[in-house]
């Protein structure tokens, strides 16, 4: 059996075995959970603006994200965020809470391998690519704007 044929058979085997998430309801769950997280964010922002009239919209938005990140980290620590993620899929990944979860989750998971080489290194296993590519795109945008 040559390599190509073997790879093809292997891929067919993988396709057959990998659990399928091809369910229409997951779209609705993702929509609902994502939408609700955004509404909670809007609620926090409106409460902050009402409590502190001197706050600018931009600063209220920054506070709102920090508060969401705090609760997402806490829920991740308690093991509740992953339970939401099981049925919400992208609804729990795409909001900023998912970014927070992607940092807290491996940090907690790999604590047993040590604070520095476990917790601190693995913390960025998902957030690292996001920040690297985010910085790259922001530098690119900056360069383009410099010459406009």
């Amino acid at each position: 059996m040559d390599v190509k044929e073997r790879n093809k058979k292997y891929n067919e085997y993988v396709d057959a075995k990998v659990p399928k998430t091809k369910n229409f309801p997951t779209l609705i769950y993702a929509y609902l959970v994502g939408g609700v997280i955004c509404m909670i964010g809007q609620g926090i922002q409106d409460i902050l603006l009402a409590l502190f009239p001197s706050l600018t919209l931009e600063d209220a938005g920054a506070w709102m994200l920090i508060i969401l990140i705090f609760f997402a980290s806490l829920l991740t620590g308690l093991g509740w965020y992953d339970r939401i993620g099981v049925f919400a899929g992208a609804g729990s990944i795409v909001p900023i809470t998912g970014f927070s979860n992607s940092i807290a989750s491996p940090a907690i998971e790999f604590k047993k391998e040590g604070i520095i080489f476990g917790l601190c290194v693995k913390m960025f296993s998902i957030a690292g690519p996001v920040i690297v590519n985010g910085v790259a795109i922001s530098v690119l945008v900056g360069i383009v704007y410099l010459f406009l």
């Binding site: 998912g98 998971e109 530098v139 704007y145 410099l146």
Partner: protein
């Protein structure tokens, strides 16, 4: 007031649903989704297309990770206007410093407090 919350829900949910469609169609990993959405958000902001969505839907556009990309691009553009070449390097991370620092420090604290639960799949 309540109309605004409806808009937040519809737009925020829609952006998340796009991510779920990607998962279903391509079995994409969550890291790739996050990277892709940040880049898309930054590009839309650079072309001036994301700001109208923020005006329309508020947190519905700033809470999804595309809003993180938007902050990166917006910060870079503003910093370049104010500081020139230095702004290319300082703009993006300065604008998103709050979110990144919060995510890192809260993860650090809670990782020290909590231990991982055994996952059952």
């Amino acid at each position: 007031m309540w109309l605004m919350y409806l808009k937040v829900f519809l737009v925020g949910g829609f952006i998340c649903m796009l991510g779920q469609i990607l998962i279903i169609k391509t079995n994409i990993t969550s890291a790739r989704i996050l990277v892709l959405f940040v880049v898309i958000g930054a590009l839309l902001e650079a072309f001036g297309l994301y700001e109208p969505i923020v005006t329309f839907a508020g947190a519905g556009a700033t809470v999804p990770i595309t809003g993180f990309g938007r902050s990166l691009a917006k910060g870079a553009i503003q910093a370049v206007k104010e500081k020139g070449i230095l702004g290319i390097f300082t703009g993006g991370l300065t604008a998103t410093a709050g979110g990144i620092a919060a995510a890192v420090i809260f993860a650090y604290i809670f990782a020290l407090i909590f231990s991982s639960k055994t996952k059952k799949f």
